[in-house]
Amino acid sequence: MNLKSKDLLGLRDISAEEIEYILNTAKTMKCIVTSNNKKTAHLQGKSIITLFYENSTRTRLSFELASKYMGASAANISASSSSVQKGETLIDTGKTIDAMGSDIIIMRHPMSGAPHLLAKNVKSSIINAGDGMNEHPTQALLDMFTILEKKGTLKGLKVAIIGDILHSRVARSNIWGLTKMGAEVNVSGPATLMPPEIEKMGVNVFSTVQEAMLDADVVMGLRIQLERQKKGLFPTIREYARFFGVDDKRLKLAKEDAIVLHPGPVNRGVELSTSVTDGEQSFINEQVTNGVAVRMALLYLLTRRGTVNEVTD
């Protein structure tokens, strides 16, 4: 099969079948990531640009390595050194990159919907590497891939997502993806960081972390932007950690074999205690490895889209 859209803008708009296909392809790619020879020709002759309007170390590196492992020509543009500083519009920037023959533009932007705008205006495929508070689909795909590896299935699992749901593109993409794949999603966090009517997305909302985590198969912490405290969204970091942090005691409320995930980097002692972050149930480092595999799968599937060279994975 091929992905239906030329772009991956979010998990809201793709089917469960497509998600499953990406995750299956990622299994193959993980073999490459973990092998001694990380050079393949999947993307030979393809041009891949990372266009980041926001700083990010791990997502950017993950995409870059994914591109390079598969033999693509890759280049980076960061907002600080780009024409944005000269007042160039996003569409003009995109069209310029497009005109240079890019196949895929991987884009991170602080404003929700920016990749959607670009996707409508360029021929290249756009991969959303995080847009404002909207979506971060590749992060959710790597989360789902990790869960799938550890649990064998997504269907019927109970996933607790804890923290700043309001500002979290990771949470939104995970909610779309996980519910689509048949998981049950619980969310909890400070009321000031809970999006209105979020329950209509098909999640259970709990006012206490304890309730949300009860019998969970997966506990996902979200990164708190510490500056939010200054904006009065919660009183202090200390209070946040006390009421919304995941520590060993709270983790015991989840199933015994529950796994802990976090998109990183972790504010240790805030969202997760250090013992939870480094504990046996934590697969945070594994998520990073899986991130490269998932991104390789996506790059491959998007560049292959529309061709007749379908291979069986």
Binding site: G113, A114, L117, M201
Partner: protein, 428 residues
């Protein structure tokens, strides 16, 4: 010059006229209303099967002149208004420079005389530079020709200044049009705070940001006994607050705009910047409440809030896109299609909302079809359906979420002072 409109179904709110008849205008003044008027020497408009209304009066638009002529100017703005059936428009002062002094009010009036094809009435700023710090020279604004006062685009955030503005404006018998918005509560919100903002990941602008300020201004109006007009009401509680204030005798009028009785925040789906407007599009229950408010008379006026923007200000990320949509050329057809056709308003009630009441609120001698009055008229076909095509707008701008909508009631003729400026849907 004699203009005879033959056999149109004439509807007027003030006189109660609601029948097929002829109207004769001589030298721009309505000379006779009746049947079988002699056609000799007249330009004749056959209005058989068509409705004849008093020319529409818009109490709230942005002509962008001076300062933002690349979006609109008085010439294109009034051409757009004429195409939409408006014969008089009141333009907001958030231009550059701001209409906060006598010279600029006169600039608009004079430019409208040379470039405009409908009547233009400037609204002066409440505060100097719209900064909300010092009162404008309200008396001078009034005597220069300002028909109302508003800091539209921004709230008068300082409650004490608003109280003083109401007291001071009352002396000059000029109404303050309040843009109700508590900016602290808006907190950089970009669209209505609710399920849609949650799933799009866009910061929400909660309904209370509007309602808190409506409540404040109603309280201040009651206290000062001033007249207040609440602009672009969009929420259910906002309507309720105004309804209760009216019951208590507060001198308040209120307006809404076509997008608030036709669209919900679902229109922002896909990060559609043409649906980005301030106040934001709300939910279905708000839309229903707005319609109820129009039906029961709580909302007196339908204004356009015509807010043209250049494509480069809309074809950008949602967060940085300008607020507002062009309104003149769709306002009346939207009202016919979404209010009259479903039976929410009668045609006579619509005349009140779009012609007589705005004229009254602004203190204009317009909005009615009577012998001796200026022949400002509009004629439309209620049964002919057409498709909105923004590429055909007379406005310089194209930022409308209604492109492609099928509507009824497109104006066929717009007549300003006995002079047809739109004839058979064609602007002259």
């Amino acid at each position: 010059m004699k203009l005879l409109i033959k056999n149109g179904h004439v509807v007027d709110a003030k006189t109660g006229l609601d029948s097929v008849t002829d109207i004769l205008a001589v030298d721009g003044i309505i000379h006779d209303i009746g049947s079988d008027i002699d056609e000799t020497g007249c330009e004749v408009i056959d209005a058989n099967g068509l409705y004849v209304f008093p020319g529409l009066v818009d109490a709230h638009c942005h002509l962008r002149d001076p300062g933002y002529e690349y979006k609109e100017d008085i010439e294109t703005g009034t051409r757009s208004a004429a195409k939409g059936g408006f014969t008089s428009v009141a333009c907001m002062p958030n231009t550059n420079p701001v209409l906060d002094n006598e010279a600029l009010i006169k600039y608009v009036i004079n430019k409208a005389k040379t470039d405009g094809i409908v009547n233009v009435f400037p609204i002066g700023a409440v505060s100097k530079g719209l900064k909300g710090e010092e009162l404008s020279e309200i008396g001078e604004l009034k005597f220069a020709g300002a028909v109302a006062l508003s800091d539209d685009g921004r709230p008068v955030g300082n409650s004490s200044l608003m109280k003083k503005a109401m007291q001071y404006a009352s002396m000059f018998d000029i109404t303050i049009i309040s843009h109700c918005e508590d900016l602290d509560l808006v907190d950089e919100g970009l669209m209505n705070e609710g399920f849609q903002s949650s799933i799009l990941g866009l910061k929400g602008n909660p309904a209370p940001a509007e309602e808190v300020m409506i409540a404040r201004d109603l309280i201040l109006a009651e206290y000062t006994k001033a007249t207040i007009h609440i602009a672009h009401v969009s929420t259910e509680l906002g309507v309720d607050l105004i309804r209760n204030a009216k019951r208590r005798g507060v001198k308040v009028t209120a307006e809404t705009c076509p997008h608030y009785f036709t669209l919900t925040d679902n229109a922002c789906e896909g990060f559609n910047t043409n649906a980005k407007v301030n106040p934001p599009l709300r939910t279905q229950k708000d839309v229903d409440a707005i319609i109820q408010g129009l039906k029961d008379g709580t909302i007196d006026i339908i204004s356009t809030d015509h807010a043209p923007h250049h494509i480069d200000e809309k074809n950008v990320e949602f967060k940085i896109a300008a607020n507002g949509m062009v309104g003149f050329e769709t306002a009346f057809p939207l009202a016919i299609t979404y209010l009259v056709k479903p039976g929410h308003l009668t045609l006579k009630e619509l005349v009140y909302k779009m012609s007589f009441n705005p004229s009254q609120m602004l203190g204009l001698n317009k909005g009615t079809i009577e012998v001796g009055k200026l022949a400002d008229l509009m004629i439309f076909d209620i049964n002919e359906q057409y498709k909105v095509d923004v590429s055909k707008f007379e406005s310089k701008s194209r930022n409308s979420p209604f492109n492609g909508f099928s509507l009824y009631g497109q104006p066929q003729y717009t007549i300003v002072g006995g002079n047809p400026v739109v004839r058979k849907k064609v602007l002259l």
